[in-house]
Structure formats: structure tokens, C-alpha cells
Symmetry: C2
Subunit: 223 residues, 2 copies
């Protein structure tokens, strides 16, 4: 996590709370020490002990904030380019402008994927698996419902295997709900149980529908 | 100029010497003060007093070194986005790998223009005129002759108006040679005068040739 004014960032505090409830996830804020540099040994140790590395930052002048670039320059500068091989690299980038401005004819005209291409090159060089870009768009304008969706998507990005299936996402959500029910008070428990029942019922309907579809598809193959 | 180890950089010392002989050019090394930040007032004053701003740096992990990003984050962060309007922005980027690796199918596969697109977005946002990217390719492998050519191209980038014509480049070169002759010792003077005479003679031949060409072209227009 790299942010020049982390305390003032509603987006990052929100995501931090979302990450805090997950197991096996380390929220690590990039900070230089008194000499203005990173503790390279500590950073490397942390990197080695995790399977997935997520760079999380607000877009600042069309790139990552300087502190993340400094981290890259100092920590990744080793002769062995394979030490991070096979690990996954995620990017969680928050933007203050509407995403539609970052496309042909938009005010910024340059897609985020192009602006962030140095990370593509970096993943390529280190033979890391680059995950799909995760964008947090104009958080301060989001409704409560949009934020709940964002939180779930974000938690899934941190926890689920790469290229997770729809079924994995459903399992994950059901599991989360059950855990929340287990620790809730009576009133919340009732509400959450209702959500869970609705979710499970819909999920079964959806599966029935899918079976029907695949059956219809198979029949059509003989047309 | 942004470089984490400037003293060790042969490329930058070479370019620095090339810039030093020019008038109206300020070589400014980006350095943070004791608190780890830039003197924002001083940096802004310097910016305002120049017509052309050239970001000069080695490509570090596919982007500018962190200190330049910090400079951008701290110094350009003003509410008035038009204060640099109409100024020119140049990029002098040195790369350690052959340029041909930065293209489709090359080892890096991503073009420098794409990796450096945050500067395109920055120029666009500030309404600055972005100059053509100036690349210093594998300086340490360059021959003496290649370096002389690099030096002249670099000096022209710093001194000549934007979109300079071939004629402007020739005038500039003749002017430079004459100045060198004026301050040379007898032996060098003779050699340089020979270069100047050859250059002037060839230039006249070239102009004759151009006249012939344009005459032929005009005649053909009536075909």
C-alpha cells in the first residue's frame, strides 16, 4: 500500500478494514526509514513469505506515487531476476476521475492499462503472473451498495485463487455469510440468515437454469 | 536531471559537459533536502524562468527514477493547471538495453513511448508541448563517432526551436564550428577550418541538388 497521505484517504481506510477481517493477508504500508530508504532485508523477507503481491495506490500524476517507485527501485534491484518467479502480482488502483475519461476521446485519452504498462513490463521481467487490473473508481461518489460490492470484489481479489470461477465466488460468499452469522447478535443473525437463504435459493434456481441451458444446447447440437 | 547515482553515470557526465558549453541552459539535478522533500518554491521559480523543461533520466524498472516522480508529485501539485501552459517538455531517456528489445516480439515487448505514456498524459494535462522523445541507447557501447553525433543532437535538442528544420540544424552547426575555431589553438584551428570548408562546400552541393530536384518536380507537375 503506497499513499502519500494515508490517514486522509477514505478509500484506503475502507479497503484496509476489508482486508483486516481476512486471514493470511498482510496489509503493508510502504514507508521509508529515517535515512529516507527502505529496510531492504525486511521488505524482501515479507515478499518471499507471500504468494500474491498486490500493489495498491491512488493514481498520482498518471502513475504510482513516488514511494512505490522508490520501493521498486530499491527492493527489486537484485541480480537474481527469478526470485519472485511464479508469484502473482495484483494492482489495486484508485482514480479520482471517472474511468470513462481514460479512453480514446476522453479527457485523459490514455487508457489506464497503458499508463500502468511499466508494471506489465516489471511482471514480465520477473516472470510474475499479472492479475487483472482492479480499479477503484471515484470512491467518494459511490453509494453504500456500490461500496459493499467493491468490498466483496476486493476481498475476493485478495483471497480467491487467480482466474476464480463463478462457482468459487459463490462458495466464497456463502462461506463468508455463514461466518458472519456465527458471530452476529440475534437481530443481525435473523437478517443475515434471510440473505443466506435467499442467496442459496437463487443459486439453486440459477444452477437449474444452467442445467436447462446446457441441456437445450446439447439438443441443439443435433439440429 | 534525475539519477540515483549521478557520479557513476558516464552517460550523464558526458551530456552534462555537452550542456555546460551552451548559454541559456540550466543543468539542474533533482535532489531532496534534509527533510526528504523538495524546496517547492525554488523548483517553481526555476520552472517559471525557463521556456523548455527537459526531464533527463535513465530508465529504471521501466519508468523514471523515484526522485523524478517525487518531484512531479510535490512540485506540480498546484491547483492552477495552466501555470506551465505553452512551455515545452522534453524527455531525454537513457536505456541500457538495445532499443530493438522495446518493440513487439522484443525481449521487453513494450515500446518506450508506451512505458513513458504518463509523461504524455502529464504534458496533455498541463497543456505543455511535448517534444519528440530523445533516447540515449547503450551509451557505454557507443563509438567515439556515435558519441560525437549524440552530443550534437543533444545540444540541438536543448538549443534549437521545436520542430527545427534541416536548414536550422546546418546553420547551428556552422555557427558552432566557427565559435570553436575562434577559441582553438593553431593546430586544431587548421583541422576545424578544414571541417568547416568541407561542410560548407557539401552544403552548397546539397542546396544545388535540392534546387535541381524542386525544378524537376515542378516540371513533372505539368506532365
Amino acid at each position: 500500500m503506497a499513499h502519500p497521505q494515508l490517514r486522509d484517504s477514505g478509500t484506503q481506510q475502507f479497503l484496509k478494514d476489508g482486508a483486516a477481517v481476512l486471514e493470511n493477508v498482510t496489509w503493508h504500508e510502504l514507508k521509508v526509514n529515517a535515512t529516507g530508504h527502505f529496510d531492504i532485508m525486511a521488505e524482501k523477507k515479507l515478499l518471499r513469505s507471500h504468494e500474491r503481491v498486490v500493489f495498491q495506490f491512488p493514481l498520482y500524476w498518471y502513475a504510482a506515487p513516488a514511494v512505490l517507485k522508490q520501493w521498486v527501485d530499491e527492493v527489486l534491484a537484485v541480480s537474481d531476476k527469478r526470485w519472485l518467479q511464479e508469484k502473482e502480482l495484483g494492482l489495486v488502483v484508485s482514480v479520482g476521475q471517472p474511468l470513462k475519461e481514460y479512453r480514446l476521446g476522453g479527457r485523459e485519452a490514455i487508457p489506464l492499462s497503458e499508463l500502468l504498462s511499466p508494471f506489465k513490463a516489471l511482471a514480465q521481467r520477473l516472470k510474475m503472473q499479472l492479475m487483472p487490473l482492479f480499479i477503484v473508481e471515484q470512491f467518494s461518489y459511490q453509494s453504500e451498495k456500490q461500496r459493499q460490492k467493491l468490498l466483496i470484489d476486493y476481498q475476493q481479489l485478495l483471497e480467491l485463487p487467480r482466474d476464480f470461477s463463478f462457482k468459487q465466488r459463490q462458495d466464497w460468499f456463502e462461506d463468508k455469510l455463514k461466518k458472519m452469522i456465527a458471530v452476529s447478535n440475534i437481530k443481525n443473525k435473523k437478517e443475515l440468515e434471510l440473505v443466506l437463504n435467499t442467496f442459496t435459493a437463487r443459486r439453486e434456481q440459477l444452477n437449474d437454469l444452467k442445467d436447462d441451458l446446457s441441456f437445450t444446447k446439447k439438443e441443439n447440437e443435433f439440429d
